[in-house]
């Protein structure tokens, strides 16, 4: 009996604590007011660019894939590449010169200071390249796959390459530079969180809280006069609902019904621009029958209505992709004029059935049957959770089913999907290519047999395992071509090859989802003025942050 009395007293204690909690909960609830961060102080830019998981960890190591996005507004590259116009803007270097196909020289900008006041020099550039050589985990651009040595004399840095590799300049351009006087004292630069970066860029870290951090303008920035936003405010949570409600200035996000949701939230100021950032394609496993048969691949390509697929996948925000291998309209200037209809393939089921027949598959009783008499059965692999791709695959499925092909959709989790992609463990895989900002890199990653590994061994490019002597030869030539005219001739042939051989079946362009508001700042990139992409997680943002003007 004693025990149970003690128990019931404990119970009373619990009850009163609970009611206290409930009471105080009530009092807060009446005084609360929706609480949002939308700081609208003049000169501050609410920026939906960095997501917490769910809160921020203070890690600004610019080489880490888990670093805060803000690292890219502090550390700067030699030149900023705008992948839309395929053009590099001189940045920490004032320019580069291809001395010969194996030697590239950069002239380093004078008068640039690190944010701690120390001067920036060519030796920092050499140091950075040495650093990433010693720590391959930091070499996110694969510099040392093509560079053999780096040396500085005065304000000139000279890169010697392993072989002729003119397109490598685009890669060297993008290397961000870190200060030697800081990083040489870091014991492990791979795991260092770099909480207070010393960099050359337009911003430095302001306040930092787990749910939001700010970046202040770097007053000693070498082009400080071009930086209009005094403060960047980066919340950890940027759901579409919050984007619409809290009045963001710039956000990167796919948003449904953009015209009614984002634009509708502030008709006067809100705009968007969704330029293509890569090509979404069906990658056939070329080591397997029937995908190793070019007639079969052509049949597949002709069987599809890409407009429907693009609309289903991305709500009509993007266009169907042509079979040139180029990202259009970004790379319009490279387009081979000999390709019919700019390389676009329109649906032609009759032609598709003829090509399937050439490959040994003919229509019988509404079913496409192979030589063995069994119905053609394809499995399309796409990553679980990439719902836009899934919508696209569902459209492909119904279009192929209409021709009598049985289609199964396989949706492994993203990690398992990547593994399947790397190892060539698929029939048809929904994948993406291109968008690097360099025609050479785009075609090389897609078609070079150097990337093609046997099935079961992890590849890092050319996942369809295309192996074509002509492609390899053309890519080799492109590597050493220095004049634009020569390059154009080779790129024309690569496009023709892509069009004829169908190593992958291009479907639609993947968008870059830029949402802008000119309420506080103007000068956002757009289709009319594509000086940068809307991407927020690369040095590309530097172009925008130094281009904005305060709204009057």
């Amino acid at each position: 009996m004693n025990k149970s009395r003690a128990r019931s007293r404990a119970l009373v204690a619990v009850v009163s604590a609970a009611s206290l909690l409930a009471l105080s909960a009530c009092s807060v609830h009446t005084s609360s007011s929706g609480g949002s961060s939308g700081t609208t102080a003049s000169g501050s830019l609410l920026f939906g660019a960095d997501g917490g998981n769910p809160t921020f960890v203070r890690d600004f190591n610019p080489f880490s894939s888990n670093a805060r996005t803000g690292a890219h507004y502090m550390y700067e590259p030699l030149e900023v590449v705008n992948s839309i116009e395929d053009k590099a803007t001189p940045w920490l270097a004032t320019g580069d010169k291809v001395v010969d196909p194996t030697t590239i020289q950069y002239t380093i900008r004078q008068g640039v200071k690190w944010s701690d006041g120390k001067p920036f020099s060519a030796s920092d550039v050499v140091y950075t390249f040495d650093l990433i050589k010693k720590n391959p985990a930091l070499d996110t651009l694969g510099q040392w796959q093509s560079i053999s040595s780096v040396s500085a004399s005065g304000d000139t840095v000279t890169f010697h390459l392993n072989g002729p590799d003119v397109p490598d300049a685009t890669i060297i351009d993008q290397q961000i530079i870190v200060p030697q006087h800081i990083w040489q004292n870091v014991s492990d630069p791979v795991t260092w969180a770099d909480p207070n970066p010393v960099a050359t860029g337009p911003y430095v870290v302001g306040s930092f809280a787990p749910n939001e951090y700010t970046m202040k303008k770097n007053t000693s920035y070498w082009q400080a006069d071009k930086v209009a936003a005094e403060t960047l405010v980066l919340p950890a949570s940027n759901t579409p609902l919050q984007l619409v409600k809290n009045g963001y200035d710039w956000a990167y996000s796919f948003i449904d019904n953009v015209d009614t949701t984002w634009v509708g939230a502030n008709k006067q100021h809100n705009t968007y621009w969704f330029p293509p950032g890569g090509t979404i394609a069906l990658l056939p496993n070329l080591t397997k029958a029937p995908f190793n048969n070019v007639d079969f691949r052509r049949g597949l390509s002709e069987a599809l209505n890409r407009n429907t697929i693009a609309t289903d996948a991305e709500e009509g925000y993007v266009k169907a992709a042509g079979q040139s291998g180029l990202l259009l309209p970004n790379q319009q200037s490279w387009l081979n004029p000999a390709l019919p209809d700019q390389g676009l393939i329109s649906q032609d089921t009759k032609q598709a059935l003829q090509d399937f027949a050439k490959a040994g598959y003919s229509s019988k009783g509404g079913k496409l049957v192979g030589p063995s008499g069994a119905q053609l059965h394809l499995t399309i692999t796409t990553a679980n959770g990439y719902t836009d791709w899934l919508r696209g695959v569902q459209a492909v499925q119904s279009q192929l089913q209409a021709l009598g092909i049985a289609v199964t959709i396989d949706q492994p989790q993203p990690a398992a999907y990547t593994q399947a992609e790397n190892n060539g463990d698929f029939d048809l895989l929904m994948g993406a290519f291109g968008g690097s900002g360099s025609v050479y890199q785009d075609f090389n990653t897609l078609m070079s047999s150097g990337f093609a590994k046997p099935v079961g061994t992890a590849a890092s490019g050319n996942f369809e395992r295309f192996n074509d002597a002509q492609a390899d030869q053309l890519l080799g030539q492109l590597k050493s071509a220095t004049s634009v005219g020569d390059q154009q001739k080779i790129v024309d042939q690569l496009q023709q090859l892509m069009y004829d051989q169908v190593p992958v079946v291009s479907l639609f362009y993947g968008g870059l989802w830029g949402l802008f508001s000119d309420k506080s700042f103007t000068g956002w990139p757009s289709a009319d003025d594509p000086y940068a992409t809307p991407a927020t997680w690369t040095e590309n943002s530097l172009l925008i942050l130094t281009h904005l003007k305060k709204a009057s």
Binding site: V244, D256, Q411
Partner: protein, 307 residues
């Protein structure tokens, strides 16, 4: 996920004799029917089953047909509007009953069968084997079920509904086994079991012929409990995108609704309707359990309390 309380009393008395099985069933149905809440549950559950069976007749369109205007609000042609790829929401809701209801009932049934097999034998055997079974059951009870489901679903990708059923069964049987075991333990010492033992009946016969019929109501209750847990688990898994988004079920409807941000676009019906169906279906089963409780425990059945 926080509470797994089944509406099951720990020590209900034996009430059913071993009479004519038909009469027992009839009496049981009568008992359930006499409880208004349970009657409501039975009617509701029947309605859901009919909806699932006759979905092709009831639904105005094919749920996969994406030929309608995209993201429409409700209208005469599409009472609940259309999805982001132009499918009729009402038709999806009706067809969704097929998958959701059958997954719940099948998974609930399988989980209950496993629970019966394990729980009864566990309750009857003693010493080492009892501890061994107890060890396994405890293991399944302590492993967090939702994370375990996620891991299993991630491992068995694209297996579709069979995977969901499997995952729900694997993670859902242990609780029932524990409840049935304690009841078996109680019954084990009753006279009729002792009598059966002395008359030389085999242990399996004693367990499944003598003891089990006395636990019918508990088993039915744990079936409805398991089926309720199953539909909620199915919805949770599919909502997280771990199901097969190609099938039309209430859980995948919620997944797509959340994915196309229907709260933002104002088409919150797409989120509300499937969730409400899941809730109603679960309600129908919990309400039937009100009556089942009365079956196992006459005290719960009495309408007027004595003071």
């Amino acid at each position: 996920m926080t509470t797994t309380t089944d509406p099951v009393t720990p020590d209900p008395p034996v009430i059913e004799g071993r009479g004519n099985p038909l009469r027992v069933v009839a009496r049981a149905i009568g008992t359930i029917w006499s409880e208004p809440k349970a009657r409501f549950g039975v009617i509701l559950l029947t309605a859901f089953i009919l909806l699932a069976l006759f979905a092709p007749l009831i639904a105005p369109y094919d749920p996969h047909d994406g030929s309608f205007p995209h993201s429409q609000d409700g209208s005469a042609a599409h009472l609940l509007g259309t999805t982001g790829v132009g499918q009729d929401v009402l038709s999806q809701l009706i067809w969704g009953a097929r998958v959701s209801v059958s997954v719940a009932l099948i998974a609930g049934l399988l989980a209950t069968l496993v629970a019966i097999a394990v729980g009864l034998s566990w309750g009857y055997v003693r010493a080492f084997w009892g501890e061994a079974v107890g060890f396994i059951v405890n293991l399944f009870l302590v492993i967090p079920s939702l994370p375990l489901m996620i891991v299993i679903a991630a491992y068995l990708h694209s297996g579709g509904l069979a995977v969901i059923v499997l995952v729900v069964v694997v993670t859902g049987w242990a609780w029932g086994a524990r409840v049935l075991r304690s009841q078996t333990q109680t019954l084990r010492s009753r006279d009729f079991v002792t009598a059966a033992k002395f008359s030389g009946e085999s242990p399996s016969r004693i367990v499944f012929r003598e003891i089990m019929p006395n636990m019918t109501s508990l088993i039915v209750a744990s079936f409805f409990g398991a089926a309720t847990a199953a539909i909620l688990a199915e919805a949770g898994l599919e909502f997280l995108g771990l199901g097969d988004p190609n099938t039309v079920s209430w859980g995948t409807m919620l997944f797509w609704a959340q994915n196309s941000n229907v709260l933002l676009t104002g088409q919150w019906v797409q989120l509300f309707a499937p969730g409400f169906m899941i809730a109603l279906f679960a309600v129908s089963m919990t309400f039937i359990n009100f009556g089942v409780d009365g079956l196992s425990n006459p005290r719960l059945r009495e309408r007027t309390a004595k003071r």
